[in-house]
């Protein structure tokens, strides 16, 4: 049975919200379907969390309970993996395979494309953070500070996501897709090891500690550790993330090539 299609022109753009929703859901499905990215986004953070708690006697994390220190840091790591590494790699290949080019000739405005991307990242992060929190709680994590702390954490995650997304797009806009793939993974590993993410900044040598708080990774992790231990939302990390987000977004807007 063949339906007859009428090709009579009836052009028009869909309402903006429908475009953004479709773009966000599409990108979410693609992120969740990508095996390698899921390893970075879920497997490695959970491994660090569980492994770190087991090995806490070996690695000195300070006076606090290891799980209370590690869970917020691993949350920052999860945010880093999706909002920076995944975004950079996915965008690099979107450009390589002409997806950005094709969407550029569709009714989807560039701002809506970015909004869809960010929404997809936030959706995936919600899944990741729920999982990390659940495992953390299972291991005895005791967050403090109640609803205020939770809202502070959400603010930090959103700001961190903005900064990392902009940095990821900056990288994808400058490098070739393969180079982006390599560099984004490398940056992830470097920040995981030495970016003040999992290990609290005051555990680093003094010379390094002074600078780590200025990295977006260090600022996000330190901010989360503070706020979720009940110490309140510090302005330092919020400002650092804000500056990174604005600066990277401005640079990206200037350098990004859509084709």
């Amino acid at each position: 049975m063949t339906r007859t299609l009428s090709y009579a022109p009836a052009p028009g753009a869909a309402p903006l919200h429908r475009m953004v929703r479709s773009q966000a859901l599409m990108e979410t499905r693609l992120l969740l379907r990508n095996g390698e990215q899921l390893v970075l986004a879920v497997a490695i953070p959970l491994l660090v969390l569980v492994g770190g708690v087991q090995a806490a006697s070996v690695v000195a994390l300070g006076d606090a309970r290891p799980v209370d220190v590690l869970t917020p840091g691993v949350m920052a790591l999860a945010v880093l993996s999706t909002s920076f590494t995944s975004v950079a790699i996915a965008t690099g290949f979107e450009r390589r395979y002409g997806v950005l080019k094709r969407l550029g000739a569709s009714p989807l405005p560039r701002t809506a494309l970015l909004a869809g991307k960010v929404a997809a990242v936030l959706l995936v992060e919600t899944l990741q953070l729920s999982l990390v929190a659940a495992v953390g709680l299972g291991l005895g994590w005791q967050p403090h500070g109640g609803l205020t702390a939770a809202l502070g954490a959400v603010l930090l995650v959103v700001l961190g996501t903005a900064a990392f997304c902009a940095l990821g797009l900056l990288m994808a806009g400058i490098l070739r897709a393969e180079a982006t793939l390599a560099a984004a993974n490398l940056v992830y590993l470097l920040l995981l090891a030495g970016g003040g993410v999992v290990v609290p900044i005051d555990r680093y040598p003094d010379s390094a500690a002074a600078h780590l708080g200025l990295l977006p990774s260090g600022a996000l992790a330190e901010g989360l550790r503070d706020v979720l231990s009940g110490a309140g939302l510090a302005t330092g990390p919020v400002l650092v993330l804000l500056v990174w987000a604005v600066a990277a977004a401005a640079l990206t807007a200037r350098t990004f090539r859509w084709e």
Partner: protein
């Protein structure tokens, strides 16, 4: 520029028209010359969904390319190219590899700014009014355009969701024979299936104008026929189609207007009927005794014809071959008491015309 349409009466394929310079209906142009002077009218009725005459006026042309120049570094990709596309018609841009087809089409799609000259699409500037055109113009890129990890159906549904009144995704998938690959990811589709999905993506938003960059490259004969049919249906529905191709037969079959471009320049422009008329410069071959005296025959043949004997015993008559040419030849044979063997008239293929226009050497 005065509108050339209707001003000339061009020859038809039967070759009965006057032998004026433009009698071929398919003029080779001097480099950099505007297309307008070479535009041949329809010598056979061509379907025209708009109902009106296919004639063009700059005011309502769907696409105007005016003296376009595009370079990549030292490479001159498009060299003072001009042509117009009438609404509701199918235009084929034909040319060898590297001729500048994709560059031209992508400039119309707003991907690049003209380095010189002007491009108008639906009366708008393709770069400045990109957003508005995004909804009205369908685009099929020469390659890529889809997430490698997206499933075919999902990709098409996403494109549909960006438009206000999309076609039925299932209907389109079925029409293009992609029914069995709806859940296959783009990277696992065959080359031809990827092309078909890409075509579907261009059509799903019900555009009034589509740019199809090599819509049939790599398609099997069945898929190619479906695509041809579909392009016919688009025209019937009033959609303006601009496509690129390497195939003369495809251009002949689909297009109202054909523009042959070579090294970024317009080499020739006209209707397919004009192209077919160009093919009337045929050849007659026959075999007979070697070393015939051809003087009398040459004198009897119409002006512009020639007879040669490239290999002993085989003869070739070239020039504008019309029925009278054949009659003259056979009369001459009868006069000589000669029975020519394996006498046949060869209509030069359109491909030969294309090769003659654009040269035979391989393009870089």
């Amino acid at each position: 520029m005065p509108d050339a349409v209707g001003d000339h009466v061009f020859g038809t394929a039967s070759g009965t028209a006057s032998g004026t310079a433009s009698g071929d209906g398919f003029d080779a142009l001097p480099p950099g010359c505007s297309a307008d002077v070479a535009d041949a009218p329809m010598t056979s009725p061509v379907p025209n969904a708009g109902g009106g005459p296919v004639g063009r006026t700059t005011g309502d042309a769907a696409v105007v390319v005016d003296d376009l120049v595009m370079t990549y570094g030292d490479v001159l990709a498009v060299d003072r190219l001009s042509f117009e596309v009438a609404p509701g018609t199918v235009t084929a841009i034909l040319g060898p590899n590297g001729a500048g087809k994709t560059t031209t089409v992508e400039t119309c799609e707003g991907y690049r700014a003209p380095q010189a000259g002007r491009v108008r699409v639906l009366g708008l500037d393709p770069r400045r009014d990109r957003r508005r055109l995004g909804a009205r113009v369908g685009v099929m890129l020469q390659d890529g355009g889809a997430w490698t990890g997206a499933r075919a159906g999902e990709m098409l549904r996403h494109m549909a969701a960006l438009h206000a009144h999309p076609l039925s995704v299932d209907g389109l998938i079925e029409r293009l024979g992609l029914g069995s690959c709806g859940r296959t990811t783009y990277r696992r589709l065959s080359g031809g299936q990827q092309r078909r999905l890409s075509l579907a993506m261009a059509l799903v938003g019900r555009p009034e104008l589509v740019f199809l960059d090599e819509p049939t490259a790599g398609l099997d004969p069945q898929a190619r026929h479906v695509t041809w049919e579909l392009i016919g249906e688009l025209r019937t529905a009033g959609v303006t189609v601009v496509l690129t191709t390497h195939y003369m037969d495809e251009a002949e079959r689909l297009a109202d207007q054909v523009h042959v471009i070579d090294r970024g320049r317009l080499a020739a422009s006209g209707s397919p009927a004009g192209l077919a008329a160009r093919g009337a410069e045929n050849t007659i071959r026959f075999r007979a005794r070697p070393a015939l005296d051809l003087t009398a025959l040459t004198a009897a043949l119409p002006e512009g014809s020639a007879v040669v004997e490239p290999t002993p015993g085989s003869y070739v008559v070239t020039g504008k071959v019309v029925p009278e040419t054949l009659a003259t030849l056979t009369a001459w044979c009868a006069g000589q008491g000669l029975l020519p063997e394996s006498l046949h008239v060869e209509r030069r293929s359109l491909e030969d015309v294309f090769l003659e226009l654009t040269g035979r050497e391989l393009r870089p």
